[in-house]
């Protein structure tokens, strides 16, 4: 994990260091289906996915990309500091895609007695397709 980040260290407009995932595998989609209890065959059965109109077969769970977005925030700010992750699903992700989670700081503010940071976040594949877009909120400790 990265060094501890303090509220005073970050500024509005700062980029958060991106996090790249290795290519998504079909085994990972089976694992995610089992771990999340999302058994929609669109994510695990090529024949089913093709019948549902996906030319290349299965597509990844949108929630897997959101999981990467959450992991990205936790990796940067520390899991204990993550308060909110919110995304819109904007495009499909396929096996083999390498997902990059990135973001920047939009606002620093106080809420519920904490120093909070609102971040813009998105996940993008190696093809440049933006697959989720949204925001995250983290609470950062103060050097006080």
């Amino acid at each position: 994990m990265a060094d501890k980040i303090y509220f005073e260290d970050v500024n509005e407009g700062d980029e958060i260091p991106p996090a790249t995932q290795p290519g998504i595998t079909k085994v990972q989609l089976l694992q995610y289906a089992g771990a999340s209890h999302d058994y929609n065959l669109l994510h695990t059965d090529d024949g089913f996915a093709q019948m549902a109109g996906m030319p290349n077969g299965v597509i990844a769970h949108g929630m897997l990309s959101m999981g990467f977005a959450g992991q990205f925030l936790a990796g940067w700010a520390g899991l204990q500091n993550v308060r909110k992750v919110s995304v819109r699903f904007t495009a499909m992700t396929e096996p083999g895609d390498e997902v990059v989670a990135a973001g920047k700081i939009v606002k620093k503010y106080q809420e519920d007695g904490e120093n909070r940071v609102l971040c813009e976040i998105q996940t993008t594949t190696q093809k440049g397709t933006v697959t989720t877009k949204g925001e995250g909120v983290v609470a950062l400790p103060s050097k006080g």
């Binding site: 994990m1 995932q21 290795p22 990972q28 694992q31 995610y32 089992g34 771990a35 999340s36 209890h37 999302d38 549902a52 949108g62 929630m63 897997l64 959101m66 999981g67 990467f68 959450g70 992991q71 925030l73 936790a74 990796g75 899991l79 204990q80 993550v82 308060r83 909110k84 992750v85 919110s86 995304v87 819109r88 699903f89 519920d112 949204g134 909120v137």
Partner: protein
Amino acid sequence: MSINMDSVGFETEETVHEVDRVSIKWFALALGEKNPIYFDREAAKAAGFADVPAPPTFPTTFRDAQDAKLRDKVGFDFTKLVHGSQEYEAPKPLVAGDVLRIKSRVADIYTKEGKSGAMIMVKTESTGRRPDGSVAFVGRSTIIQRP
């Protein structure tokens, strides 16, 4: 089947879920996590957690028969659904051993004109509470039924 617009306000019965280490482990592995806090209680404790913590999107695993009831009530056509958006908010991470009382409700349903016709937007909200009644997490979803 068509969407039952009157299902706005429908609320599921409360169900109880216990957050456990094994479920966290498999969920974290599926996300490609390597951080030992998700797999090792001692590492989690050294990082300040009471037990192994769950990743921020872990509440997605709390699916049960009540969710199926909510979907039946709304009357979704499963061949036309798209997950539009998702949000999870929590005052602090969930950790193994947490016992949560979860309820979901249909928060809103409205139509939106899309390129190929009217899309029906269904907003749902799930709230997980701790035994003392405090909110442990809130999940908000938008499910879109395409024309």
